[in-house]
């Protein structure tokens, strides 16, 4: 039985105007456990708080109920008051008799009666309150960034500049990501490499940044402030420390017929390779599926020519374990596979290319050294057709994505414009559903493409691209504005393929217990207010893994995520919300229902030995809640059939006691 004090606030006339506060205090005095019930003009005032503090001490109160304004207003105030008087702050309950009573009811009798009932409910609840102590968990002052594209690099640089060590894990042999493959950037037409590579170098040279290239995250354990991550370093067959990146091995490698993924397979590379000239780390990598030595055991030429002695054919995948306080996901995107879009003849003609391939074809470091040539015959194309929304905004269709890929309108305008600028003899058509240009200088950019560069924008969809015997492509399309069917004989067709999250995102999300939407984009903690955080505490989102975005947006989100990470890492420890779920291990079935509904991944299972009722011991699978991660929503408490899961501060019995008090 608690010793409860009830404090009814007048709030001037705000409450006392329609609630007879004296009567409320008088009525609540006879409730079980109430040892003092009093009223005062302003409970939140210095004098009011003193009254509460004195009562706590004088009457040895174990719980207090304040009948006043909304707990959203002054719950924190009165908790502090209680704490100051030596009472656990979670032994305070507020009965909201202002916003939810005096302000909505005009009749004194009605308001008073309701206030008494609300007071009773709060008393019934406080009877079952238990003192709660906020736990603390230490923060490891190191961040992990997963993905080394522009998003990851920017996040890492910002965190590192604030003085915290950062590791970047990149699955490719080099960082740089998609931006490294891009030629120019809209709307300014800067050279992508010119602005990206310095950042890559900055990252590489930053004493707080450590890059694990050609590596993957293998396992994530722990929680905010204290993640433990296992990183798999894939075998490169080249010692990255010894390798000087001289490129001699690449030159001498006899196996030179490997499709070059950096150029999207449009040219070949050798079995030992450095993806591109500005790669970071600039270290060679042996492709074991192509290397003659690895496949047949015969060759070993690279080892012979390597002066640094960096080649090591026996190298194995290795694992590193590291602790982090925060994890940033920056896994980026890929264009979708176009196998399902047969109407565009992508698989039938080499002259039908994706926009990213087109980037490589116009890039000075690309397979054609920057000259726009048709992949099929290396001739200069004259008529180019750009098709927008290939796989984007396919609502209801069985193929493609329902969302807008966001960047296609602008890069297509860029491609079309560059085409016309470099090769004025070309005719450039762009087929679109809508042109979406909501960004700084975006619409101006698009209008320049149309007005200054004479790109022919046609609202309509391409129905079919048919390769012709003469090597040309017959594009059949409809012009929705003119209402006519068009047939265009094109030399090249460029498809603005939809973008989708990288394949690695889904398994990573599982490891991180971070939630994803149906398109495999990571969900943010709040779509408006917490767009750079995952609902899983300590996991942050940067770049296209959260949704399609262009470079400036990516960079700003990257910096945003970095700011959040820094905000976390500057703390020495995290104070946990004590109103979290907890599992009664004796009743837990280990069925995983709670784990499945937890948005934060706060619930884990372990096999524990128990003494069973029949005097035997048994190993049982039981849930445990990490109070540092749990946010206290209570979803698990209802998912749990046995009632083993309960929520501090809002326990089953507390809520039922309130129900009982209200209904009686």
């Amino acid at each position: 039985m608690q010793r409860i004090g009830v404090f009814v606030c007048w709030c001037g006339s705000n409450i006392a105007g329609t609630v007879d506060v004296h009567k409320v205090a008088e009525a609540l005095k006879s409730e079980p456990g109430v040892v003092i019930a009093t009223q005062y003009q302003y409970m939140c005032s210095e004098a009011g708080q003193t009254l509460i503090k004195d009562a706590i001490r004088d009457h040895k109160l174990t719980g207090i109920v304040v009948c006043s304004c909304s707990p959203r207003m002054h719950e924190a105030t009165f908790r502090k008051t209680a704490a100051a008087a030596g009472l656990n702050p979670y032994m305070v309950e507020i009965a909201n008799i202002r916003e939810q009573c005096s302000w909505i009811h005009k009749d004194m009798e009605v308001g008073t009666e309701k206030a008494i009932i609300l007071g009773r409910a709060a008393i019934a609840k406080v009877h079952l309150n238990a003192p709660l102590v906020a736990g603390e968990s230490p923060v490891v002052k190191r961040a992990l960034v997963i993905g080394g594209g522009i998003a990851g690099i920017q996040t890492a640089l910002d965190i590192a500049d604030a003085g915290f060590p950062v590791d970047i894990v990149e699955t490719k042999p080099t960082i740089g990501g998609k931006m490294a493959q891009i030629d120019k950037t809209f709307p300014t037409l800067d050279c992508a490499a010119c602005i990206l590579t310095p950042k890559m170098v900055d990252a590489a040279q930053h004493d707080k940044i450590n890059i694990y290239a050609y590596s993957e995250v293998a396992e994530v354990k722990g929680f905010v402030g204290n993640f433990s991550v296992k990183i798999k370093q894939k075998a490169r067959m080249v010692d990255p420390v010894k390798c000087t990146g001289c490129g001699l091995c690449v030159e001498k490698c006899p196996m030179k017929k490997v499709p070059n993924e950096f150029n999207l397979g449009m040219d070949k590379r050798s079995a030992i390779y450095i993806p591109f000239a500005q790669a970071v780390p600039k270290v060679a990598t042996i492709d074991p599926t192509a290397c003659l030595k690895m496949k047949t055991g015969k060759c070993g030429l690279c080892a012979t020519v390597c002066e640094a002695g960096a080649i090591d054919y026996t190298q194995q995948d290795s694992f590193i374990e590291e602790k982090y306080g925060a994890i940033v996901v920056a896994t980026g995107y890929n264009p979708i596979n176009l196998d399902q879009f047969d109407e565009f003849a992508y698989n039938q003609s080499p002259d039908v290319v994706t926009s990213l391939e087109f980037e490589r074809l116009t890039n000075a470091a690309g397979p054609t050294a920057g000259t726009l040539l048709r992949p099929s015959d290396g001739k200069h194309p004259h008529t180019l057709v750009f098709v927008q929304c290939v796989g984007s905004r396919c609502d209801g269709a069985e193929k493609g994505k329902s969302y807008c890929s966001k960047i296609c309108c602008m890069y297509t305008a860029k491609h079309a414009m560059l085409c016309r600028e470099k090769y004025p003899d070309t005719e450039v058509y762009v087929f679109y559903i809508d042109v979406r240009t909501p960004g700084k200088n975006f619409d101006e950019f698009y209008r320049r493409a149309v007005e200054e560069y004479g790109v022919k924008y046609i609202k309509g969809m391409v129905g079919k691209v048919a390769p012709q015997a003469d090597g040309s492509l017959l594009v059949q399309a409809s012009d929705l504005i003119e209402g006519e069917q068009l047939k265009i004989k094109a030399d090249m067709v460029v498809l603005a393929a939809a973008i989708e999250p990288d394949q690695s995102a889904r398994p990573l999300a599982t490891m991180l217990t971070a939630s994803m939407d149906t398109n495999d984009f990571f969900t943010e903690a709040h779509p408006k207010l917490r767009p750079v955080e995952s609902p899983t505490a300590g996991v942050f989102l940067s770049g296209c893994c959260q949704g399609p975005k262009d470079i400036p947006e990516t960079v700003s989100q990257a910096s945003g995520a970095a700011a959040k990470v820094i905000g976390l890492l500057v703390k020495d420890s995290l104070t946990c919300n004590p109103c979290v779920a907890h599992s009664d291990e004796l009743m837990c079935n280990g069925c995983s229902a709670c784990e499945k509904v937890c948005p934060y991944g706060a619930i884990t299972y372990q096999d524990k030995e128990f003494r069973m009722p029949d005097r035997t011991t048994a190993i049982r699978r039981v849930a445990s809640v990490n109070p540092a991660v749990c946010q206290g929503c209570g979803a698990c408490t209802v998912a749990c059939p046995s009632g083993a899961m309960d929520l501090n501060g809002f326990s089953n019995s507390q809520i039922m006691a309130e129900v009982d008090a209200i209904c009686k």
Partner: protein
């Protein structure tokens, strides 16, 4: 002996229900159960009801008293005890015997006044079982369904019901329905009795060897290895206890109604894991122990305290209703022979 034609049996029910509440077995969507007689309610032809007739004297839940608690003071409000006279018609011999067994528990010192009060207000009309089932084994406990007992015993042939008062209350009851009853020869029901006796002789569960179940053998039986195997499939539900006419364990609980505390008692089952749990532990932690308790109670403990009377009447309800078909007959057969 009195008689009435079956086709005018409704007039008997009307007459009986005129002065008191009449309960009789009525068909429900699944089996028969005792229901209050109202116009047009038909007497079920079923051999036995799903629930036993013990409800009438020992209902599943019964309000014992109320409390008003205010501050430090308590007020005890005694319940209003039902004072309505009632008659239960159609009780079988086995259930009729169960009342005698319940009496031994509830009417021994100190008397349970709740039970006693109901018992004093009830009149029992039994009916001879014309078509015993394979699950019937009442004869093992000395019950003769052709002499079903109660305040009034009845026999039924193809078209007539014969009634014989056994007690003063029974006489009074028949008197109250004298208008619809005709006189009958005392031997009128002998034919029915003979037929039933002949059928009884063919019942599959007869001559159960109960000789092992004595107080002397208590520790032997208690320690038997058989319990583990017998109880292995037991689900720990309370079906057997709740359909049993002689199970009488109860719980006393308080319920906060929001405007007072109601103290009620309700059936409880020794098969339930919570039955003996208390603040400092539980002496019967496993289902084996609980299962053993139930059968030891029926076959050994109860007889030890009650002149050797077994606390089973062979009604066969547990045989028919146990979800896993484990029952007292299987237990008797397993243990009866196993011990000297």
């Amino acid at each position: 002996m009195k008689q009435i034609k079956l086709d005018s049996i409704q007039s008997l029910f009307k007459a009986l229900s005129a002065t008191r509440t009449l309960y009789l077995p009525v068909d429900t969507p699944a089996g028969a159960d005792f229901k209050k007689y109202e116009d047009g309610v038909l007497w079920s032809g079923a051999l036995n009801t799903n629930r036993s007739a013990k409800d009438f004297f020992f209902p599943q839940t019964e309000n014992m008293m109320d409390f008003k608690v205010e501050g430090k003071t308590i007020e005890i409000i005694e319940p209003i005890r039902p004072d309505e006279d009632f008659v239960v018609f159609g009780v079988r011999a086995c259930d009729a015997r169960s009342f005698e067994l319940l009496d031994k528990v509830f009417l021994c010192d100190p008397v349970d006044t709740y039970y006693k009060n109901r018992r004093e207000h009830g009149v029992i009309v039994t009916v001879c079982c014309n078509k015993p089932a394979e699950t019937c084994f009442c004869t093992n406990f000395g019950i003769d369904p052709t002499a079903p007992g109660g305040d009034v015993a009845c026999w039924q042939d193809a078209d007539t019901l014969y009634l014989q008062a056994n007690t003063e209350a029974g006489e009074a009851l028949l008197q109250s329905a004298a208008d619809v009853l005709a006189e009958a020869d005392d031997s009128a029901a002998d034919g029915v009795k003979e037929t039933v006796k002949a059928i009884m002789a063919k019942l599959p569960i007869q001559n159960l060897d109960l000789s092992a179940f004595t107080e002397d053998n208590l520790l032997n039986l208690f320690g038997s290895e058989q319990w583990k195997k017998l109880s292995e499939a037991c689900l720990g539900c309370g079906t057997c206890t709740f359909v049993c006419p002689t199970c009488q364990c109860y719980d006393i609980k308080d319920f906060d109604t929001g405007h007072g505390i109601q103290r009620f008692r309700c059936w409880d089952s020794c098969m339930y894991s919570e039955f003996t749990r208390c603040a400092h532990g539980n002496p019967r932690l496993s289902q084996v122990e609980r299962f053993r308790q139930r059968f030891m109670h029926k076959l050994v403990y109860f007889p030890a305290n009650n002149n050797g009377d077994f606390s089973c009447v062979g009604c066969g309800r547990c045989l028919a209703k146990c979800p896993i078909s484990m029952n007292i007959v299987k237990v008797i057969k397993a243990l009866g022979g196993a011990n000297e």
